[in-house]
């Protein structure tokens, strides 16, 4: 057993960590959130230049062949700066689907562009009624004289407003909740039959609701009717990524709270000298450590199992969701009023840690999945 990082891993971690420290401070992030696109193209180009967009892809696909542990390392650092650039939507989810299900031609068409930072993509899977059931797909692809067309609605598609190309989960056979009969399609996001309502999420990430009305497809991705296992696999990978992000964000929330408690004076002494608050900050610390541990467990098990271990992943999401809940609430509460303001990062960490608890399956959903596997 050896939990130390390899020199390559150390290098990646250092380089992302430096980026967050030097180029992604809180004020810079605020400016990015306030910009027209809500993310920085300059940063995105830098991610490409530094090879971070190549990290999730296999060497034979032109990538760096990064492991799940490598992905977690990057995302944990991203979490410390609450990076809003659509790394998960484009590189992890859409890119990951093409890499795992695409034909060689499709990989050649899309992956180099993703890795070069030239293509924005999004994966549209959730629907207004589906909640966290990935098999619940009403959106339907039907045959016409001109080939398959897609009709239906997709909810809260991450990066959906900026994507050039969408990957859409649609039903090609069976009933709404059948496990078979779901297929993945590449779709031109700018086609006139695609209606997009874009917005920022409360955590600053960009998203859109998307309506398809007899939208022609650019191509089928993977085997028709058999997409569900591929979807589950990629959502698990994305879930691991936000778990790692949460661990990084919790670390900052805890550090900020400690700094504040050590400097804020009330009743003639620092508030950190009050035992009632000391114990609560110790609890935050323990939650963060437990979260970090279970993240490592899940990433290592996924790596030793071809990138997939649903039980380990759900354990991580469940435990990290619980930790994120406590750490986020306590960080704001111990800061008091100032923690409620838009002016400092703690409130923003609170918001991101809140959405992470409910993204890709709530804490309860993953606890239940863990029990069922």
């Amino acid at each position: 057993m050896d939990f130390s990082l390899s020199s390559e891993q150390q290098m990646i971690q250092d380089s992302v960590s430096r980026f967050i420290l030097n180029d992604y401070d809180f004020d810079t992030r605020r400016k990015i959130l306030g910009s027209a696109t809500g993310y920085s193209q300059k940063n995105w180009n830098m991610f490409a230049e530094l090879g971070w967009l190549m990290l999730p892809f296999a060497e034979e696909d032109g990538g760096l062949g990064g492991s799940i542990v490598d992905l977690a390392l990057v995302m944990e650092e991203f979490g410390k700066g609450m990076v809003v650039e659509p790394f998960i939507a484009t590189a992890v989810m859409a890119g990951g689907l093409i890499a795992s299900a695409g034909e060689q031609q499709q990989k050649d068409d899309y992956l180099p562009k993703i890795m070069a930072g030239e293509l924005q993509m999004a994966f549209a899977y959730a629907e207004p009624q589906s909640r966290y059931h990935l098999n619940n797909v009403k959106c339907r692809a039907s045959k016409t004289d001109n080939g398959l067309v897609i009709s239906g609605q997709k909810s809260v598609v991450l990066n959906g407003n900026h994507a050039d190309t969408l990957i859409v989960a649609a039903r090609t056979s069976g009933d709404t909740s059948d496990k078979s009969g779901i297929s993945l399609f590449l779709v031109d996001a700018n086609h006139p039959s695609v209606k997009r309502e874009g917005y920022a999420n409360v955590d600053g990430h960009q998203a859109a609701d998307i309506w398809f009305d007899k939208t022609p497809i650019l191509g089928l991705l993977g085997k028709q009717d058999e997409a569900l296992p591929i979807i589950e696999n990629i959502i698990d990978k994305a879930t691991l990524a936000i778990c790692a992000e949460a661990v990084g964000a919790m670390q900052i929330a805890h550090e900020r709270t400690l700094e504040y408690a050590k400097t804020r004076k009330q009743f003639g002494r620092t508030i950190g000298s009050f035992q009632a608050l000391q114990h609560r900050m110790v609890n935050m610390f323990m939650e963060h450590q437990q979260a970090k541990s279970i993240l490592l467990m899940a990433a290592l098990k996924m790596d030793s199992n071809n990138g997939s271990d649903p039980k380990a992943l759900s354990a991580a999401k469940s435990r990290i969701g619980k930790a994120a809940n406590l750490v986020a609430r306590e960080a704001v509460q111990i800061h008091g009023g100032i923690g409620m303001t838009d002016e400092i990062d703690v409130g923003h960490i609170f918001k991101r840690l809140t959405t992470i608890q409910f993204l890709f399956g709530s804490t309860d959903v993953h606890t239940r999945r863990f029990a069922s596997l």
Partner: protein, 399 residues
């Protein structure tokens, strides 16, 4: 012991129901139920309706225009209002400064201020906290120095809710020599917000709203007859106000209604092929909060019952703020959880009346996160829950 309403109380309940049905504007009710922002005009509209009915001031003595209601009547009114979507009155005038004025103010001050507060002609805000004086309120530094028959006020107050709309501010100011522990040097002063030497700067909170402000006083000259009571007694007055306001602080009626609405939302929320209400784990979470709220309701009723028989509120009343806010926040969190993916979009613009575009998600869902974020304040303001815990520990348990 008797749990039932008397026939007079039942009549009163009917009267309140009828009033709300006839007089509460539908649009205000809808917005209140959906936790949407009410404009100053809308708040005034409702408060003036209450005023015409003679129901604007449920806590005031009858001689000043109060309702003279028994605690049970107040309980009935709060519950019916919450059910119907009648918004809470803005507390700063009617519930906070008015009791100070009619208890400690001069006859001249009562006549000058109370009628306009009762009729909601003027808006008040509160100047207590400062950057260095939060939980340790007595550490406040804003000074009021006597100069002839005026005080000259310098300093900055913060977390001033709705200060941007207020005509008047009631302030704790330091009239004695600066010293952190000296609560004897604090006085209670009423200041006109339209003074050109007062400036208000907004503080935006994490839900994106402008609700609180910093209020800067730069040599503001205040007539000495705006001082309440005696110089140096402000701390005592402020403390009396805090104990005065025990009932209602738990917001039980509103939480009860929010739970009823949550269950409706959850029934209407699809969970794949099923409804979210059939999710046993989620149903149990709702039940846990509901049970906690039932206990709190009876804690509040015990307090009310003690008051109505002329006893001082017992230790149970100290629990109201802490548990009440815990429950508010737990309910908010259940809304977020029920909303699922639609808790994420930040789309406050779609709740504006003039918005004609496509709504993102069900309104109750897309508003859930903002309410959850905003109500983090409830365990911080009005004496943080940590301070409340200290009060119970010292004053109730004698530790």
């Amino acid at each position: 012991m008797n749990l039932n309403f008397t026939s007079e109380e039942k009549d009163f309940q009917q009267e309140v129901q009828q009033f709300l049905q006839q007089k509460l504007p539908k649009d205000i009710a809808r917005k209140t139920k959906s936790a949407l922002h009410l404009s100053k005009e809308e708040c005034n509209e409702w408060q003036k309706i209450l005023y015409k009915q003679g129901w604007a001031a449920s806590n005031w003595p009858v001689e000043h225009g109060g309702t003279g209601w028994t605690p049970t009547q107040k309980y009935i009114f709060a519950n019916e209002c919450a059910k119907a979507g009648g918004p809470d009155v803005i507390p700063f005038g009617l519930k906070m400064v008015a009791p100070i004025i009619y208890t400690f103010g001069s006859e001249e001050q009562k006549q000058r201020f109370l009628p306009d507060i009762l009729a909601s002609n003027v808006w008040w805000c509160q100047g207590y906290s400062e950057t260095g004086a939060g939980s340790d309120l007595a550490a406040m530094k804003t000074t009021a120095v006597k100069d002839g028959d005026e005080y000259v006020v310098n300093g900055t107050k913060t977390w001033t809710t709705l200060g941007q709309h207020a005509d008047w501010i009631f302030c704790l100011v330091r009239t004695g020599p600066p010293s952190t522990k000296n609560q004897e040097a604090i006085s209670f002063l009423l200041i006109n917000m339209h003074d050109p030497k007062i400036s208000v700067s907004p503080i935006i909170t994490i839900d994106g709203r402008h609700e609180v402000n910093e209020v800067h006083f730069d040599g503001v000259r205040v007539p000495a007859n705006n001082l309440i009571g005696t110089e140096g007694q402000g701390w005592t007055y402020a403390k009396v106000l805090l104990t005065h306001e025990r009932t209602g602080i738990a917001r039980v009626a509103i939480s009860k209604d929010r739970l009823v609405q949550l269950k409706d939302l959850v029934k209407a929320s699809p969970n794949g092929e099923d409804s979210l209400i059939n999710d046993a784990v989620f149903a149990q979470k709702i039940a846990n909060v509901e049970i906690d709220l039932l206990a709190l309701e009876y804690t509040e009723l015990r307090t009310l019952s003690a008051l109505s028989t002329g006893q001082a509120p017992g230790p149970e009343s100290s629990i109201l703020k802490i548990v009440g806010t815990q429950i508010i926040q737990a309910i908010d969190e259940l809304y977020v959880e029920a909303a699922g993916y639609y808790a994420m979009p930040f789309v406050p613009f779609q709740f504006h009346e003039e918005f004609e575009g496509q709504h993102i998600g069900p309104d109750m869902a897309t508003n859930s996160s903002l309410r959850y974020f905003n109500n983090r304040k409830t365990s911080i303001y009005g004496g943080s829950n940590e301070i409340q815990t200290n009060i119970i520990s010292k004053a109730v348990l004698g530790l």
